[in-house]
Protein backbone atom coordinates (compact mmCIF):
# COMPACT_ATOMS: atom_id res chain seq x y z
CA UNK A 1 0.00 0.00 0.00
CA UNK A 2 2.68 2.43 1.08
CA UNK A 3 4.76 1.54 -1.99
CA UNK A 4 1.81 2.32 -4.23
CA UNK A 5 1.40 5.72 -2.66
CA UNK A 6 5.13 6.30 -2.83
CA UNK A 7 5.15 5.32 -6.51
CA UNK A 8 2.20 7.56 -7.18
CA UNK A 9 4.07 10.41 -5.55
CA UNK A 10 7.44 9.91 -7.20
CA UNK A 11 6.10 9.22 -10.68
CA UNK A 12 4.01 12.39 -10.68
CA UNK A 13 5.89 14.51 -8.19
CA UNK A 14 5.63 17.62 -10.40
CA UNK A 15 1.83 17.52 -10.14
CA UNK A 16 2.00 16.93 -6.40
CA UNK A 17 4.24 19.95 -6.06
CA UNK A 18 1.76 22.03 -8.04
CA UNK A 19 -1.07 20.83 -5.79
CA UNK A 20 0.86 21.52 -2.59
CA UNK A 21 1.83 25.00 -3.77
CA UNK A 22 -1.75 25.67 -4.81
CA UNK A 23 -3.06 24.71 -1.40
CA UNK A 24 -0.44 26.87 0.35
CA UNK A 25 -1.52 29.77 -1.85
CA UNK A 26 -5.22 29.21 -1.26
CA UNK A 27 -4.62 28.92 2.48
CA UNK A 28 -2.76 32.22 2.56
CA UNK A 29 -5.40 33.84 0.37
CA UNK A 30 -8.26 32.81 2.63
CA UNK A 31 -6.81 32.58 6.12
CA UNK A 32 -4.16 35.32 6.33
CA UNK A 33 -5.27 38.55 7.93
CA UNK A 34 -2.70 40.87 6.39
CA UNK A 35 -3.85 42.16 3.01
CA UNK A 36 -0.38 42.05 1.46
CA UNK A 37 0.07 38.46 2.61
CA UNK A 38 -3.21 37.65 0.91
CA UNK A 39 -1.78 38.98 -2.35
CA UNK A 40 1.39 36.93 -1.84
CA UNK A 41 -0.90 33.93 -1.40
CA UNK A 42 -2.65 34.84 -4.63
CA UNK A 43 0.70 34.93 -6.42
CA UNK A 44 1.68 31.52 -5.05
CA UNK A 45 -1.70 30.15 -6.13
CA UNK A 46 -1.28 31.49 -9.65
CA UNK A 47 2.31 30.28 -9.88
CA UNK A 48 1.17 26.78 -8.94
CA UNK A 49 -1.25 26.81 -11.87
CA UNK A 50 1.52 28.01 -14.18
CA UNK A 51 3.73 25.18 -12.92
CA UNK A 52 0.94 22.70 -13.63
CA UNK A 53 0.64 23.93 -17.23
CA UNK A 54 4.39 23.86 -17.82
CA UNK A 55 4.80 20.38 -16.38
CA UNK A 56 2.08 18.76 -18.48
CA UNK A 57 3.70 20.24 -21.59
CA UNK A 58 6.89 18.25 -20.88
CA UNK A 59 7.70 15.30 -23.14
CA UNK A 60 10.30 12.88 -21.75
CA UNK A 61 13.54 13.44 -23.66
CA UNK A 62 12.02 16.22 -25.74
CA UNK A 63 14.00 19.25 -26.82
CA UNK A 64 13.08 22.84 -27.44
CA UNK A 65 10.46 23.22 -30.18
CA UNK A 66 12.82 24.79 -32.76
CA UNK A 67 13.73 23.53 -36.21
CA UNK A 68 16.09 20.54 -35.92
CA UNK A 69 17.97 18.53 -38.58
CA UNK A 70 15.56 15.60 -38.02
CA UNK A 71 12.70 17.77 -39.27
CA UNK A 72 9.21 16.83 -38.17
CA UNK A 73 10.40 13.57 -36.58
CA UNK A 74 12.27 15.39 -33.83
CA UNK A 75 10.94 14.81 -30.31
CA UNK A 76 10.02 18.21 -28.95
CA UNK A 77 8.15 19.68 -26.00
CA UNK A 78 4.64 20.99 -26.64
CA UNK A 79 5.13 24.77 -26.91
CA UNK A 80 1.46 25.81 -26.65
CA UNK A 81 1.12 25.69 -22.83
CA UNK A 82 4.23 27.87 -22.51
CA UNK A 83 2.64 30.49 -24.73
CA UNK A 84 -0.61 30.32 -22.78
CA UNK A 85 1.27 30.78 -19.54
CA UNK A 86 3.10 33.83 -20.89
CA UNK A 87 -0.33 35.41 -21.28
CA UNK A 88 -1.43 34.21 -17.85
CA UNK A 89 1.73 35.65 -16.25
CA UNK A 90 0.94 39.06 -17.75
CA UNK A 91 -2.57 38.80 -16.35
CA UNK A 92 -1.20 37.79 -12.95
CA UNK A 93 1.17 40.77 -12.86
CA UNK A 94 -1.63 43.18 -13.71
CA UNK A 95 -3.89 41.74 -11.01
CA UNK A 96 -1.08 42.06 -8.47
CA UNK A 97 -0.54 45.68 -9.50
CA UNK A 98 -4.23 46.53 -9.15
CA UNK A 99 -4.45 44.72 -5.81
CA UNK A 100 -1.39 46.47 -4.37
CA UNK A 101 -2.63 49.88 -5.47
CA UNK A 102 -5.96 49.17 -3.80
CA UNK A 103 -4.13 48.17 -0.62
CA UNK A 104 -2.17 51.45 -0.72
CA UNK A 105 -5.45 53.35 -1.01
CA UNK A 106 -7.05 51.36 1.81
CA UNK A 107 -4.01 51.97 4.03
CA UNK A 108 -4.02 55.72 3.25
CA UNK A 109 -7.69 55.93 4.11
CA UNK A 110 -8.01 53.68 7.14
CA UNK A 111 -4.45 53.25 8.39
CA UNK A 112 -4.78 49.49 8.82
CA UNK A 113 -3.52 46.47 6.91
CA UNK A 114 -5.27 43.81 8.94
CA UNK A 115 -8.53 42.44 7.59
CA UNK A 116 -10.41 42.08 10.89
CA UNK A 117 -9.41 45.56 12.04
CA UNK A 118 -10.30 46.93 8.62
CA UNK A 119 -13.79 45.47 8.83
CA UNK A 120 -14.17 47.00 12.29
CA UNK A 121 -13.06 50.44 11.10
CA UNK A 122 -15.28 50.27 8.01
CA UNK A 123 -18.30 49.38 10.12
CA UNK A 124 -17.64 52.18 12.59
CA UNK A 125 -17.54 54.91 9.92
Amino acid sequence: MIEVIFDLFTSHYNYWMAIILMLIGLYALIAKQNLVKKIIGLNIFQTAIFLFYISFAEVTGGTAPVYLPEGAEALYVNPLPHVLILTAIVVGVSITAVALSLIVRIYEEYGVMDEDELMKVVRER
Binding site: L26, L35, F45, V91, I106
Partner: protein, 497 residues
Protein backbone atom coordinates in the same frame (compact mmCIF):
# COMPACT_ATOMS: atom_id res chain seq x y z
CA UNK B 1 -12.42 41.47 -48.18
CA UNK B 2 -15.51 43.51 -47.53
CA UNK B 3 -16.00 45.21 -44.20
CA UNK B 4 -18.99 42.97 -43.51
CA UNK B 5 -16.81 39.87 -43.45
CA UNK B 6 -14.47 41.50 -40.96
CA UNK B 7 -17.22 42.72 -38.66
CA UNK B 8 -16.73 40.13 -35.86
CA UNK B 9 -13.12 41.13 -35.29
CA UNK B 10 -13.84 44.83 -35.74
CA UNK B 11 -16.29 44.48 -32.86
CA UNK B 12 -13.27 43.89 -30.62
CA UNK B 13 -10.45 45.80 -32.31
CA UNK B 14 -12.48 48.95 -32.99
CA UNK B 15 -13.23 49.59 -29.31
CA UNK B 16 -9.61 48.84 -28.31
CA UNK B 17 -8.54 51.66 -30.64
CA UNK B 18 -11.41 53.76 -29.30
CA UNK B 19 -10.15 53.18 -25.75
CA UNK B 20 -6.75 54.58 -26.77
CA UNK B 21 -8.42 57.54 -28.51
CA UNK B 22 -10.43 58.24 -25.35
CA UNK B 23 -7.19 58.30 -23.37
CA UNK B 24 -5.50 60.63 -25.88
CA UNK B 25 -8.56 62.87 -26.11
CA UNK B 26 -8.72 63.00 -22.33
CA UNK B 27 -5.16 64.34 -22.19
CA UNK B 28 -6.15 67.11 -24.56
CA UNK B 29 -9.52 67.98 -23.08
CA UNK B 30 -11.50 66.01 -20.54
CA UNK B 31 -14.83 66.85 -22.19
CA UNK B 32 -13.86 65.07 -25.42
CA UNK B 33 -13.88 61.63 -23.74
CA UNK B 34 -17.59 61.19 -23.56
CA UNK B 35 -18.50 61.80 -27.24
CA UNK B 36 -15.79 59.35 -28.38
CA UNK B 37 -17.06 56.76 -25.92
CA UNK B 38 -20.68 57.21 -27.01
CA UNK B 39 -19.69 56.98 -30.67
CA UNK B 40 -17.74 53.76 -30.20
CA UNK B 41 -20.46 52.09 -28.12
CA UNK B 42 -23.11 53.11 -30.64
CA UNK B 43 -20.94 51.66 -33.40
CA UNK B 44 -20.57 48.43 -31.45
CA UNK B 45 -24.31 48.27 -30.86
CA UNK B 46 -25.10 48.72 -34.56
CA UNK B 47 -22.47 46.13 -35.48
CA UNK B 48 -23.98 43.66 -33.02
CA UNK B 49 -27.45 44.17 -34.52
CA UNK B 50 -26.10 43.69 -38.04
CA UNK B 51 -24.41 40.47 -36.92
CA UNK B 52 -27.61 39.26 -35.26
CA UNK B 53 -29.59 39.84 -38.46
CA UNK B 54 -26.89 38.06 -40.43
CA UNK B 55 -27.09 35.08 -38.05
CA UNK B 56 -30.88 34.94 -38.39
CA UNK B 57 -30.62 35.00 -42.17
CA UNK B 58 -27.58 32.85 -42.95
CA UNK B 59 -26.90 30.87 -39.78
CA UNK B 60 -23.76 30.71 -37.66
CA UNK B 61 -20.87 33.03 -38.51
CA UNK B 62 -17.36 31.66 -38.01
CA UNK B 63 -14.47 34.07 -38.27
CA UNK B 64 -10.86 32.82 -38.27
CA UNK B 65 -8.49 35.32 -36.73
CA UNK B 66 -5.64 36.04 -39.15
CA UNK B 67 -7.07 33.47 -41.55
CA UNK B 68 -5.77 30.51 -39.50
CA UNK B 69 -8.31 27.70 -39.36
CA UNK B 70 -9.31 26.37 -35.88
CA UNK B 71 -6.86 23.72 -34.72
CA UNK B 72 -4.05 26.27 -35.18
CA UNK B 73 -5.81 29.60 -34.88
CA UNK B 74 -8.48 31.23 -32.76
CA UNK B 75 -11.99 31.50 -34.11
CA UNK B 76 -14.83 33.82 -33.28
CA UNK B 77 -18.23 32.15 -33.36
CA UNK B 78 -21.51 34.01 -33.54
CA UNK B 79 -24.47 31.64 -33.47
CA UNK B 80 -28.00 32.53 -32.42
CA UNK B 81 -27.14 32.15 -28.72
CA UNK B 82 -24.07 34.40 -28.70
CA UNK B 83 -25.71 36.79 -31.18
CA UNK B 84 -28.67 37.13 -28.84
CA UNK B 85 -26.48 37.76 -25.79
CA UNK B 86 -24.27 40.12 -27.79
CA UNK B 87 -27.09 42.40 -28.86
CA UNK B 88 -28.66 42.26 -25.38
CA UNK B 89 -25.48 43.37 -23.66
CA UNK B 90 -24.70 46.03 -26.25
CA UNK B 91 -28.20 47.52 -25.92
CA UNK B 92 -27.77 47.71 -22.15
CA UNK B 93 -24.22 49.01 -22.41
CA UNK B 94 -25.40 51.78 -24.74
CA UNK B 95 -28.23 52.82 -22.42
CA UNK B 96 -25.91 52.63 -19.41
CA UNK B 97 -23.39 54.90 -21.15
CA UNK B 98 -26.10 57.43 -22.00
CA UNK B 99 -27.12 57.29 -18.35
CA UNK B 100 -23.53 57.39 -17.07
CA UNK B 101 -22.63 60.92 -18.15
CA UNK B 102 -24.30 62.98 -15.43
CA UNK B 103 -24.20 60.23 -12.84
CA UNK B 104 -20.43 59.89 -13.22
CA UNK B 105 -19.92 63.64 -12.98
CA UNK B 106 -21.66 63.51 -9.62
CA UNK B 107 -20.01 60.40 -8.19
CA UNK B 108 -16.53 60.06 -9.67
CA UNK B 109 -13.76 62.60 -8.90
CA UNK B 110 -13.17 64.86 -11.93
CA UNK B 111 -9.54 63.84 -12.43
CA UNK B 112 -10.57 60.17 -12.67
CA UNK B 113 -13.21 60.61 -15.36
CA UNK B 114 -10.84 59.95 -18.27
CA UNK B 115 -9.58 56.67 -16.82
CA UNK B 116 -13.15 55.80 -15.84
CA UNK B 117 -14.34 55.89 -19.43
CA UNK B 118 -11.26 54.02 -20.68
CA UNK B 119 -11.95 51.28 -18.13
CA UNK B 120 -15.64 51.06 -19.02
CA UNK B 121 -14.63 50.66 -22.65
CA UNK B 122 -12.13 47.92 -21.72
CA UNK B 123 -14.77 46.18 -19.61
CA UNK B 124 -17.15 46.11 -22.56
CA UNK B 125 -14.42 44.84 -24.88
CA UNK B 126 -13.74 41.99 -22.46
CA UNK B 127 -17.40 41.08 -22.22
CA UNK B 128 -17.98 41.22 -25.97
CA UNK B 129 -14.88 39.08 -26.44
CA UNK B 130 -16.15 36.51 -23.93
CA UNK B 131 -19.43 36.36 -25.79
CA UNK B 132 -18.16 35.77 -29.29
CA UNK B 133 -14.98 33.78 -28.80
CA UNK B 134 -14.88 30.13 -29.80
CA UNK B 135 -11.71 29.28 -27.91
CA UNK B 136 -11.58 28.46 -24.21
CA UNK B 137 -8.25 30.10 -23.44
CA UNK B 138 -9.35 33.20 -25.29
CA UNK B 139 -12.41 33.15 -23.06
CA UNK B 140 -10.11 33.22 -20.02
CA UNK B 141 -8.11 36.17 -21.37
CA UNK B 142 -11.23 38.23 -22.10
CA UNK B 143 -12.61 37.26 -18.71
CA UNK B 144 -9.51 38.69 -17.06
CA UNK B 145 -9.65 41.87 -19.15
CA UNK B 146 -13.19 42.49 -18.00
CA UNK B 147 -12.42 41.44 -14.40
CA UNK B 148 -9.44 43.76 -13.96
CA UNK B 149 -11.46 46.64 -15.39
CA UNK B 150 -14.28 45.81 -12.97
CA UNK B 151 -12.03 45.69 -9.89
CA UNK B 152 -10.82 49.21 -10.60
CA UNK B 153 -14.25 50.53 -11.61
CA UNK B 154 -15.83 49.33 -8.36
CA UNK B 155 -13.15 51.21 -6.45
CA UNK B 156 -13.87 54.36 -8.47
CA UNK B 157 -16.15 56.40 -6.21
CA UNK B 158 -15.26 59.10 -3.72
CA UNK B 159 -16.22 56.83 -0.83
CA UNK B 160 -13.29 54.85 0.61
CA UNK B 161 -15.62 51.91 1.29
CA UNK B 162 -15.56 51.18 -2.41
CA UNK B 163 -11.81 50.37 -2.14
CA UNK B 164 -12.61 47.58 0.32
CA UNK B 165 -15.46 46.29 -1.86
CA UNK B 166 -13.16 46.34 -4.90
CA UNK B 167 -10.41 44.52 -3.01
CA UNK B 168 -12.75 41.81 -1.74
CA UNK B 169 -14.10 41.25 -5.23
CA UNK B 170 -10.53 41.10 -6.53
CA UNK B 171 -9.71 38.27 -4.12
CA UNK B 172 -12.86 36.29 -4.98
CA UNK B 173 -12.55 37.02 -8.69
CA UNK B 174 -8.91 35.94 -8.82
CA UNK B 175 -9.68 32.65 -7.10
CA UNK B 176 -12.45 32.13 -9.65
CA UNK B 177 -10.16 32.98 -12.54
CA UNK B 178 -7.51 30.64 -11.15
CA UNK B 179 -10.01 27.79 -11.01
CA UNK B 180 -11.17 28.52 -14.55
CA UNK B 181 -7.57 28.52 -15.79
CA UNK B 182 -6.99 25.19 -14.05
CA UNK B 183 -10.16 23.73 -15.56
CA UNK B 184 -9.06 24.82 -19.02
CA UNK B 185 -5.71 23.12 -18.35
CA UNK B 186 -7.45 19.84 -17.52
CA UNK B 187 -9.57 20.12 -20.66
CA UNK B 188 -6.42 20.64 -22.70
CA UNK B 189 -4.81 17.59 -21.09
CA UNK B 190 -7.88 15.48 -21.88
CA UNK B 191 -8.35 16.59 -25.49
CA UNK B 192 -5.21 18.36 -26.72
CA UNK B 193 -7.11 21.30 -28.17
CA UNK B 194 -8.55 24.61 -26.99
CA UNK B 195 -11.22 25.14 -29.62
CA UNK B 196 -14.68 24.79 -28.08
CA UNK B 197 -16.28 22.93 -30.98
CA UNK B 198 -13.35 20.54 -31.21
CA UNK B 199 -13.27 19.89 -27.46
CA UNK B 200 -16.98 19.05 -27.63
CA UNK B 201 -16.22 16.61 -30.46
CA UNK B 202 -13.24 14.90 -28.78
CA UNK B 203 -14.51 14.88 -25.21
CA UNK B 204 -17.10 12.02 -25.38
CA UNK B 205 -14.23 9.52 -25.72
CA UNK B 206 -12.95 10.46 -22.25
CA UNK B 207 -16.20 11.18 -20.40
CA UNK B 208 -15.32 8.58 -17.75
CA UNK B 209 -11.89 10.03 -16.94
CA UNK B 210 -11.48 11.80 -13.63
CA UNK B 211 -9.49 14.47 -15.50
CA UNK B 212 -12.68 15.53 -17.25
CA UNK B 213 -14.66 15.51 -14.00
CA UNK B 214 -11.99 17.70 -12.40
CA UNK B 215 -12.08 20.09 -15.36
CA UNK B 216 -15.85 20.28 -15.13
CA UNK B 217 -15.90 20.99 -11.41
CA UNK B 218 -13.17 23.62 -11.55
CA UNK B 219 -14.88 25.43 -14.43
CA UNK B 220 -18.27 25.24 -12.73
CA UNK B 221 -17.00 26.60 -9.41
CA UNK B 222 -15.03 29.33 -11.16
CA UNK B 223 -17.95 30.57 -13.21
CA UNK B 224 -20.34 30.20 -10.27
CA UNK B 225 -18.21 32.66 -8.33
CA UNK B 226 -18.13 35.01 -11.33
CA UNK B 227 -21.88 34.79 -11.85
CA UNK B 228 -22.59 35.02 -8.08
CA UNK B 229 -24.51 31.75 -8.06
CA UNK B 230 -25.90 31.28 -4.60
CA UNK B 231 -23.40 29.99 -2.02
CA UNK B 232 -20.59 31.80 -3.86
CA UNK B 233 -22.27 35.21 -4.04
CA UNK B 234 -20.55 36.87 -1.08
CA UNK B 235 -18.67 39.47 -3.12
CA UNK B 236 -21.77 40.71 -4.89
CA UNK B 237 -23.75 42.83 -2.37
CA UNK B 238 -20.77 45.03 -1.43
CA UNK B 239 -19.57 45.35 -5.00
CA UNK B 240 -22.99 46.41 -6.27
CA UNK B 241 -23.70 48.74 -3.37
CA UNK B 242 -20.40 50.60 -3.16
CA UNK B 243 -19.59 51.09 -6.84
CA UNK B 244 -20.69 54.23 -8.76
CA UNK B 245 -24.31 53.95 -9.93
CA UNK B 246 -23.41 53.82 -13.60
CA UNK B 247 -20.95 50.98 -12.90
CA UNK B 248 -23.59 49.12 -10.90
CA UNK B 249 -25.90 49.33 -13.90
CA UNK B 250 -23.21 47.94 -16.18
CA UNK B 251 -21.96 45.14 -13.94
CA UNK B 252 -25.38 44.05 -12.71
CA UNK B 253 -26.79 43.78 -16.21
CA UNK B 254 -23.98 43.25 -18.67
CA UNK B 255 -21.27 41.52 -16.65
CA UNK B 256 -23.48 39.20 -14.62
CA UNK B 257 -25.26 38.09 -17.78
CA UNK B 258 -22.04 37.36 -19.64
CA UNK B 259 -20.76 35.24 -16.73
CA UNK B 260 -23.96 33.21 -16.82
CA UNK B 261 -23.63 33.00 -20.59
CA UNK B 262 -20.10 31.62 -20.26
CA UNK B 263 -21.29 29.05 -17.72
CA UNK B 264 -24.13 27.91 -19.99
CA UNK B 265 -21.66 27.71 -22.90
CA UNK B 266 -19.33 25.51 -20.87
CA UNK B 267 -22.19 23.30 -19.67
CA UNK B 268 -24.05 22.83 -22.93
CA UNK B 269 -21.60 23.50 -25.77
CA UNK B 270 -18.40 22.01 -24.37
CA UNK B 271 -19.70 19.29 -22.07
CA UNK B 272 -23.06 18.81 -23.87
CA UNK B 273 -26.25 17.44 -22.33
CA UNK B 274 -24.97 13.88 -22.69
CA UNK B 275 -22.32 14.63 -20.07
CA UNK B 276 -24.26 16.77 -17.60
CA UNK B 277 -27.32 14.53 -17.59
CA UNK B 278 -25.96 11.00 -18.07
CA UNK B 279 -22.21 10.64 -17.45
CA UNK B 280 -21.93 13.09 -14.57
CA UNK B 281 -25.47 13.93 -13.47
CA UNK B 282 -25.33 17.44 -12.02
CA UNK B 283 -28.51 18.99 -13.38
CA UNK B 284 -30.62 17.90 -10.41
CA UNK B 285 -28.02 19.32 -8.06
CA UNK B 286 -27.95 22.63 -9.98
CA UNK B 287 -31.74 22.70 -9.81
CA UNK B 288 -31.67 22.22 -6.04
CA UNK B 289 -29.08 24.96 -5.49
CA UNK B 290 -30.96 27.25 -7.88
CA UNK B 291 -34.18 26.93 -5.90
CA UNK B 292 -32.30 27.64 -2.67
CA UNK B 293 -30.76 30.68 -4.38
CA UNK B 294 -34.17 31.95 -5.48
CA UNK B 295 -35.63 31.76 -1.99
CA UNK B 296 -32.55 32.79 0.02
CA UNK B 297 -31.71 35.75 -2.24
CA UNK B 298 -35.26 37.05 -2.01
CA UNK B 299 -35.43 36.66 1.78
CA UNK B 300 -32.10 38.46 2.20
CA UNK B 301 -33.39 41.20 -0.11
CA UNK B 302 -36.44 41.75 2.07
CA UNK B 303 -34.17 42.21 5.10
CA UNK B 304 -32.22 45.14 3.59
CA UNK B 305 -32.72 48.81 4.31
CA UNK B 306 -30.48 50.13 1.56
CA UNK B 307 -32.16 50.32 -1.84
CA UNK B 308 -29.06 49.34 -3.83
CA UNK B 309 -28.21 46.50 -1.45
CA UNK B 310 -31.77 45.19 -1.70
CA UNK B 311 -31.53 45.15 -5.48
CA UNK B 312 -28.15 43.42 -5.23
CA UNK B 313 -29.62 40.57 -3.19
CA UNK B 314 -32.52 40.41 -5.58
CA UNK B 315 -29.95 39.81 -8.35
CA UNK B 316 -28.76 36.70 -6.50
CA UNK B 317 -32.33 35.45 -6.49
CA UNK B 318 -32.78 36.21 -10.20
CA UNK B 319 -29.53 34.43 -11.16
CA UNK B 320 -31.20 31.47 -9.45
CA UNK B 321 -34.05 31.64 -11.99
CA UNK B 322 -31.61 31.47 -14.90
CA UNK B 323 -29.76 28.54 -13.33
CA UNK B 324 -33.13 26.87 -12.68
CA UNK B 325 -33.54 26.67 -16.45
CA UNK B 326 -30.11 25.06 -16.70
CA UNK B 327 -31.11 22.54 -14.05
CA UNK B 328 -34.33 21.57 -15.82
CA UNK B 329 -32.46 21.43 -19.16
CA UNK B 330 -35.31 21.00 -21.61
CA UNK B 331 -36.28 23.17 -24.57
CA UNK B 332 -39.08 25.18 -22.93
CA UNK B 333 -37.25 25.81 -19.67
CA UNK B 334 -34.10 26.91 -21.50
CA UNK B 335 -36.16 29.28 -23.63
CA UNK B 336 -37.53 30.71 -20.40
CA UNK B 337 -34.03 30.98 -18.93
CA UNK B 338 -32.63 32.79 -21.96
CA UNK B 339 -35.65 35.10 -22.03
CA UNK B 340 -34.98 35.76 -18.35
CA UNK B 341 -31.38 36.75 -19.19
CA UNK B 342 -32.81 39.46 -21.47
CA UNK B 343 -35.67 40.32 -19.12
CA UNK B 344 -33.61 40.47 -15.97
CA UNK B 345 -30.95 42.58 -17.68
CA UNK B 346 -33.62 45.12 -18.64
CA UNK B 347 -35.55 45.24 -15.39
CA UNK B 348 -32.53 45.20 -13.11
CA UNK B 349 -30.86 47.83 -15.31
CA UNK B 350 -33.94 50.01 -14.92
CA UNK B 351 -34.17 49.47 -11.15
CA UNK B 352 -30.49 50.29 -10.59
CA UNK B 353 -30.89 53.38 -12.79
CA UNK B 354 -33.75 54.50 -10.55
CA UNK B 355 -31.60 53.85 -7.49
CA UNK B 356 -28.76 55.86 -9.07
CA UNK B 357 -31.06 58.75 -9.88
CA UNK B 358 -32.42 58.72 -6.34
CA UNK B 359 -28.86 58.94 -5.01
CA UNK B 360 -28.15 61.72 -7.52
CA UNK B 361 -31.19 63.69 -6.43
CA UNK B 362 -31.70 62.86 -2.77
CA UNK B 363 -28.13 61.99 -1.81
CA UNK B 364 -29.07 58.74 -0.09
CA UNK B 365 -30.23 55.25 -0.92
CA UNK B 366 -31.40 54.41 2.58
CA UNK B 367 -35.05 53.47 2.22
CA UNK B 368 -36.00 54.76 5.64
CA UNK B 369 -35.06 58.29 4.53
CA UNK B 370 -36.93 58.04 1.27
CA UNK B 371 -40.50 58.22 2.52
CA UNK B 372 -42.79 59.84 0.00
CA UNK B 373 -40.08 60.13 -2.63
CA UNK B 374 -42.70 59.54 -5.34
CA UNK B 375 -43.96 63.06 -4.78
CA UNK B 376 -40.58 64.48 -5.74
CA UNK B 377 -39.62 61.93 -8.38
CA UNK B 378 -42.83 60.68 -10.04
CA UNK B 379 -41.28 59.41 -13.28
CA UNK B 380 -38.56 57.38 -11.55
CA UNK B 381 -40.98 55.80 -9.15
CA UNK B 382 -43.34 54.92 -12.00
CA UNK B 383 -40.42 53.30 -13.85
CA UNK B 384 -39.53 51.45 -10.65
CA UNK B 385 -43.10 50.20 -10.31
CA UNK B 386 -43.18 48.98 -13.91
CA UNK B 387 -39.80 47.22 -13.76
CA UNK B 388 -40.71 45.94 -10.31
CA UNK B 389 -43.92 44.44 -11.65
CA UNK B 390 -41.81 42.66 -14.21
CA UNK B 391 -39.49 41.45 -11.44
CA UNK B 392 -42.47 40.00 -9.56
CA UNK B 393 -43.85 38.51 -12.78
CA UNK B 394 -47.15 40.30 -13.26
CA UNK B 395 -48.56 39.80 -16.76
CA UNK B 396 -48.07 41.12 -19.41
CA UNK B 397 -44.47 42.06 -18.54
CA UNK B 398 -41.40 40.17 -19.78
CA UNK B 399 -40.75 38.86 -16.27
CA UNK B 400 -44.09 37.07 -16.37
CA UNK B 401 -43.35 35.49 -19.75
CA UNK B 402 -39.95 34.10 -18.71
CA UNK B 403 -41.32 32.68 -15.46
CA UNK B 404 -44.25 31.23 -17.36
CA UNK B 405 -41.89 29.35 -19.67
CA UNK B 406 -39.81 28.21 -16.70
CA UNK B 407 -42.85 26.79 -14.94
CA UNK B 408 -44.03 25.09 -18.15
CA UNK B 409 -40.59 23.55 -18.58
CA UNK B 410 -40.52 22.34 -14.99
CA UNK B 411 -43.96 20.76 -15.42
CA UNK B 412 -42.85 19.06 -18.62
CA UNK B 413 -39.87 17.55 -16.81
CA UNK B 414 -42.09 16.53 -13.89
CA UNK B 415 -40.52 18.81 -11.28
CA UNK B 416 -43.79 19.85 -9.61
CA UNK B 417 -42.28 20.78 -6.29
CA UNK B 418 -39.59 22.96 -7.86
CA UNK B 419 -42.22 24.75 -9.94
CA UNK B 420 -43.97 25.62 -6.69
CA UNK B 421 -40.73 27.20 -5.43
CA UNK B 422 -40.72 29.47 -8.49
CA UNK B 423 -44.07 30.82 -7.39
CA UNK B 424 -42.85 31.29 -3.82
CA UNK B 425 -39.90 33.22 -5.27
CA UNK B 426 -42.34 35.50 -7.08
CA UNK B 427 -44.26 36.10 -3.87
CA UNK B 428 -41.07 37.01 -2.03
CA UNK B 429 -40.10 39.32 -4.89
CA UNK B 430 -43.43 41.02 -4.43
CA UNK B 431 -42.40 41.46 -0.79
CA UNK B 432 -39.23 43.45 -1.44
CA UNK B 433 -40.52 45.39 -4.46
CA UNK B 434 -43.70 46.34 -2.65
CA UNK B 435 -41.73 47.51 0.34
CA UNK B 436 -40.07 50.27 -1.65
CA UNK B 437 -43.27 51.14 -3.51
CA UNK B 438 -45.08 51.52 -0.21
CA UNK B 439 -42.35 53.75 1.20
CA UNK B 440 -42.18 55.81 -1.98
CA UNK B 441 -45.88 56.32 -2.58
CA UNK B 442 -47.53 56.00 0.80
CA UNK B 443 -44.82 57.26 3.16
CA UNK B 444 -45.18 60.67 4.83
CA UNK B 445 -43.99 63.59 2.78
CA UNK B 446 -40.79 65.04 4.15
CA UNK B 447 -39.71 66.74 0.96
CA UNK B 448 -42.63 69.06 0.33
CA UNK B 449 -40.40 72.05 -0.25
CA UNK B 450 -38.89 71.07 -3.61
CA UNK B 451 -41.92 69.37 -5.09
CA UNK B 452 -42.26 69.56 -8.89
CA UNK B 453 -40.66 72.99 -9.00
CA UNK B 454 -37.36 71.62 -10.26
CA UNK B 455 -37.05 68.85 -12.84
CA UNK B 456 -36.62 65.37 -11.49
CA UNK B 457 -33.16 64.89 -12.91
CA UNK B 458 -31.15 65.26 -16.12
CA UNK B 459 -32.98 64.04 -19.21
CA UNK B 460 -29.97 61.85 -20.12
CA UNK B 461 -30.59 59.87 -16.94
CA UNK B 462 -34.38 59.68 -17.20
CA UNK B 463 -34.60 58.69 -20.86
CA UNK B 464 -32.68 55.36 -20.69
CA UNK B 465 -34.54 54.45 -17.52
CA UNK B 466 -37.97 55.03 -19.01
CA UNK B 467 -36.86 53.32 -22.20
CA UNK B 468 -35.92 50.15 -20.26
CA UNK B 469 -39.13 50.21 -18.22
CA UNK B 470 -41.23 50.45 -21.38
CA UNK B 471 -39.17 47.70 -23.04
CA UNK B 472 -40.03 45.40 -20.10
CA UNK B 473 -43.69 45.93 -20.98
CA UNK B 474 -43.44 45.97 -24.78
CA UNK B 475 -41.24 42.88 -25.06
CA UNK B 476 -43.60 41.12 -22.66
CA UNK B 477 -46.54 41.78 -24.97
CA UNK B 478 -44.67 41.07 -28.19
CA UNK B 479 -42.73 38.17 -26.76
CA UNK B 480 -42.60 36.41 -30.14
CA UNK B 481 -39.95 38.91 -31.25
CA UNK B 482 -37.17 37.77 -28.87
CA UNK B 483 -38.48 34.19 -28.97
CA UNK B 484 -37.70 34.05 -32.68
CA UNK B 485 -33.99 34.08 -31.83
CA UNK B 486 -34.22 32.40 -28.41
CA UNK B 487 -35.92 29.28 -29.81
CA UNK B 488 -33.05 28.34 -32.13
CA UNK B 489 -30.54 29.37 -29.42
CA UNK B 490 -32.04 26.90 -26.94
CA UNK B 491 -32.08 24.28 -29.68
CA UNK B 492 -28.35 24.79 -30.33
CA UNK B 493 -27.64 24.38 -26.62
CA UNK B 494 -29.50 21.09 -26.46
CA UNK B 495 -27.58 19.85 -29.49
CA UNK B 496 -30.51 20.13 -31.92
CA UNK B 497 -28.79 21.79 -34.85
Amino acid sequence: MSIMEQLPVLLIIGPIIAALIILAAGWHDRRLCYPVMLLSITGQFIASLVLLLQVIQDGTIRYYLGGWAPPLGIELVIDSFSGFILSTIMLLALLAIVYARRSVEAEVPAEKIVSFYVLVQLLIIGLVGMTITGDVFNLYVFLEISSIATYTLIAGTRSPRSYVAGFNYLIMGSIAAGFILLGIGYLYVATGTLNMAEIAMLLPASYELSTVHAAFLFLMIGFSIKAAFFPLHLWLPDAYTESPSAVTVIISTVMAKVSVYAMIRILFTIFTTAYIIESFPVTEFILLIATIAIVAGAILAIAQNDLKRMLAYSSISQIGYIMFAVGVANQIALEGGLLHILGHAMMKGCLFMVAGLIIYRMGTSNMLELRGVAGTMPISCAAFALAGASMIGIPPTIGFMSKYYLVLGAFEAGYWLYAAVLLIGSLLAAGYIWRFIEIAYFGDHHHKGDQTTTPEGPISMIAPMVCLALLCLILGIFVEMPMEIIGPAAMILLGGI
